[in-house]
């Protein structure tokens, strides 16, 4: 679905590239998590996938990004955005309307969703994100977390084939964050939507993503199945990426016991593992 070949991008007037030599393939229906320290280039990578780079941000662009076979350089941004839905890191600049319902309508109207289909799309997005009660509220009266949910709902209503999200839970409490990730996973499973999400909350990411890519200083330093990447938790720690505590627990256990154990990514798995060991 997404195929990035040897992508190097330097923002105009910047001395160093924000991304260098990125190669990454995301299959149709995958759930990819991206992690890395601040300034690693995560947002830049998300922009490249959605086509905002190079259409809006100019600079030196080498390599290629294809989404569903379309080269993002040759395809107009409007055509790409029918395919790729994007949630920005800065929600306030993403929201265009002054009332929640209007914000959801905006994309639906523009992309020509049939009139009779619009009410069900609206309700679907509002219900799944859990903001049905905010429908008639003004954006100005919402909290940061609520705005974030509105931004996510407005993109989900469009049912894109690919969903890219840049730190979508940055302003959310742990419970809402988990709810959003559950929703992303459900959309991924039910509709086969490919999900690419940048996230700082590593525990959540590891639990929900099938694939992980670790970015550092514009390069992908690790990529692969979530478990495989986490299996080298010592190397990740060295890169400054905090691993989930359950993963560290497995590592410590396997070091102490001197045998290799399967990596656990959630509390349930860790519990099973420990119970198994105790017997």
């Amino acid at each position: 679905m997404i195929d990035i070949q040897d992508l190097t991008f330097t923002y105009k007037d910047e001395p160093a590239p924000a991304l260098s030599g990125i190669s990454l393939t995301v299959t149709d229906g995958a759930f990819l998590g991206i992690i890395g320290p601040a300034g690693a280039g995560k947002t830049t990578l998300i922009r490249a996938v959605s086509g905002v780079i190079p259409h809006h941000y100019t600079g030196d662009y080498y390599g290629s990004v294809r989404v569903n076979g379309l080269d993002t350089v040759d395809t107009p941004l409007t055509d790409l955005s029918r395919l790729v839905g994007m949630v920005f890191q800065d929600v306030d600049s993403q929201i265009i309307s002054s009332v929640v319902e209007d914000e959801l309508l905006y994309g639906l109207e523009n992309f020509g969703v049939p009139r009779e289909e619009i009410p069900s799309r609206l309700e679907f997005a509002l219900d799944r994100v859990g903001i049905a009660d905010l429908r008639d509220r003004t954006i100005a009266s919402l909290s940061g977390g609520q705005r974030q949910k509105v931004a996510i709902a407005s993109v989900i209503a469009l049912r894109p084939r690919v969903l890219v999200l840049d730190e979508p839970t940055g302003e959310l409490d742990p419970r809402s964050s988990r709810q959003i990730f559950s929703l992303l996973k459900a959309l991924n499973r039910e509709y086969g939507i490919t999900v690419v999400v940048v996230e700082q909350k590593i525990m959540l990411l590891c639990e929900f993503a099938d694939m992980l890519a670790v970015l550092d200083q514009g390069k992908i330093v690790r990529q692969g199945k979530t478990r495989e990447v986490l299996a080298r938790s010592d190397e990740l720690e060295a890169l400054g990426v905090n691993c989930p505590r359950v993963t560290l627990l497995t590592r410590l256990l396997s070091e102490r016991l001197g045998k290799s154990l399967p990596v656990s990514v959630s509390l349930d798995e860790a519990e099973k593992l420990v119970r198994g060991l105790m017997q």
């Binding site: 959605s50 955005s81 600049s93 009332v99 523009n110 992309f111 100005a140």
Partner: protein
Amino acid sequence: MRDLFQYVPGTSLLHRLNPVTKLLLTVVICVAAFITDRLIFLLGLLALDLLIGFIAGVPKKTVNILKGLLRIALFLFILQALLTRKGTPVFWIVTDTGLLTAGKVVLRLMVVCMPLALVLAVTKINDLANALVQVLHVPYPYAFTITTAIRFIPQFLSEMDDIMEAQTARGVEFDAAKGFRKLGMILPLCAPLLISSVRRSEQTAVAAEVRGFHLRTAVSGYKQYPFQWIDLGAVLFCCALIAAAILL
């Protein structure tokens, strides 16, 4: 100040008017204020503005707008009264003509500004933009620019607050300063604010584009804005107002 341009939800007669009719009413009040040359008529228009505010169910806001305008008006009044040379002196260098023209100038200012602010209180910005595009066939990019600018005002002000708070925490005493000194302290903050606003508006442009900005046409709107009987009533009222301004 924060919520000066904020929409206030409601179901009043004014909320239910077609957005285009509301704009017409605003324009007509402004035009009437410039056609007429009678002080009493201007006072009548001001009363009409207030009446509109009360019918719209936003009395507090109306009064606040009026208070804000009065301050500017007082300043202008004094300036105008001092600068007019014609007429017979009433006291010191102030003449009767001076007082009259000054009164008209500030009344006009208030009459013209109030409905502009009130329209935004009783109309969602999106409805305004949609109606402009659908009914008056204003090109969508223009409508978008105007509405985005209006939407940015509260954001801009709250960012300004954030910066001032941060500076206060660093020991800058905004509260202690008054008048020009305070202005001198605030002005340097405008540059960073402007830069961040420009950056933000660029991002908003991107956000609009990835949700089909370029595909939007006059028929894209889901909501329709039909004209109703109350709109006809309002239009008739507008005609009467213009006629009165010309005749009286």
